[in-house]
Symmetry: C2
Subunit: 205 residues, 2 copies
């Protein structure tokens, strides 16, 4: 009768595990999170967790990737639409800054940076589903703007690397290192404005 949404779920509790892992990893970091904490949080047995994920690292990787993907997709949609370069850059900067400064964003960053030496695939997969997406998006957007005569850029790839860095502007470092808990709206706006101003002053026609 009904041909329902059999989404080939690979077990009923997959989402539950991932959500619990997200919570605990974001709260305690990678080393700080014990698998026992995670299964408790997820309301699932340890055996179930290990039937989905071969080890703790891959579990974390899955969490980090899903965060990045959610973020990237949202960003891509917004950049496709509008016309004015300055406006697009401001919007993109806003997104980036707010993600960099969010609890989740910073925690993923901390863990990935801390663990990528011992577990290189964490670094690779994070880069591919986070920074690289942004970069490609920016390269595309900037190239188009150059073609349309709206920007003047020699080295588009360099420009696409510079812009996200400008969006960090000291605040990110202070937050990541735990020197402060949060940034005020004014500070964030100043960083965004500063980034766009500087970028346009160099590359604007």
């Amino acid at each position: 009768m009904n041909a329902p949404a059999t989404v080939t779920k690979q077990g009923r509790k997959w989402d539950q595990v991932l959500e619990g892992a997200r919570t605990v990893f974001m709260r305690d970091g990678f080393e700080g999170a014990s698998v026992d904490d995670i299964v408790r949080e997820a309301g699932v047995s340890k055996a179930t967790l290990y039937s989905y994920f071969p080890d703790k690292r891959l579990l974390f990787l899955e969490v980090a990737k899903s965060e990045c993907n959610a973020q990237s997709e949202a960003a891509i949609q917004q950049i496709e639409g509008s016309g004015d370069v300055r406006e697009v850059l401001s919007t993109a900067a806003g997104r980036m800054v707010r993600f960099f400064m969010s609890d989740v964003g910073m925690q993923v960053f901390r863990i990935v940076v801390g663990e990528s030496q011992r577990f290189p695939e964490i670094g690779r997969e994070f880069y591919a589903s986070g920074p690289l997406m942004v970069r490609q998006m920016l390269v595309g957007f900037l190239s188009r703007a150059v073609d349309e005569g709206k920007l003047k850029i020699d080295d588009v790839e360099l420009a696409a690397d510079q812009f996200p860095e400008l969006c960090k502007a000291g605040l990110h470092m202070q937050l990541v290192l735990g020197l402060r808990d949060s940034a005020s709206e004014e500070e964030i706006d100043r960083v965004i404005e500063g980034a766009v101003d500087m970028f346009m002053s160099q590359y604007g026609v």
Copy 2:
């Protein structure tokens, strides 16, 4: 007869311990380095190590601080001398980029970022003896340049935050995440030049 260099060393093997710790921490990271590895590398007994340093964290902190201080001192000396703004910025950028990209610089960064959540004083002390030094130095230099009419900057602190970020320009992220082992001289030069160009294009008179 001989009145030799009794430099009031607080124990003969202090340096030896620190040097061994440096080697092992830089090779294996903080969690990856076991205290037993360190004493083996240092050629020292565990009891000796623990007679100098109350725990592993503080030992690492000492290593990281000594790296940062060496780096900061060298940088400060160079910025004091010369006259042309563009030249000073180029030199400073060169220093920063090369430190960011060095094995030691990246390893300290990885560890500090990874551990600063669980051990906040690591973040604080690192910031104070690294990024903060650079920032203060830049604020001083830029203010002077503004006073002398060589630069035009509204928000000097923001500018002092932006410049080091520009010196990372994507390369740093790729190296830290282990996507590549090293950067070529051309790439480094391009980043330096790009940073100085962009900075001057916004803030040059």
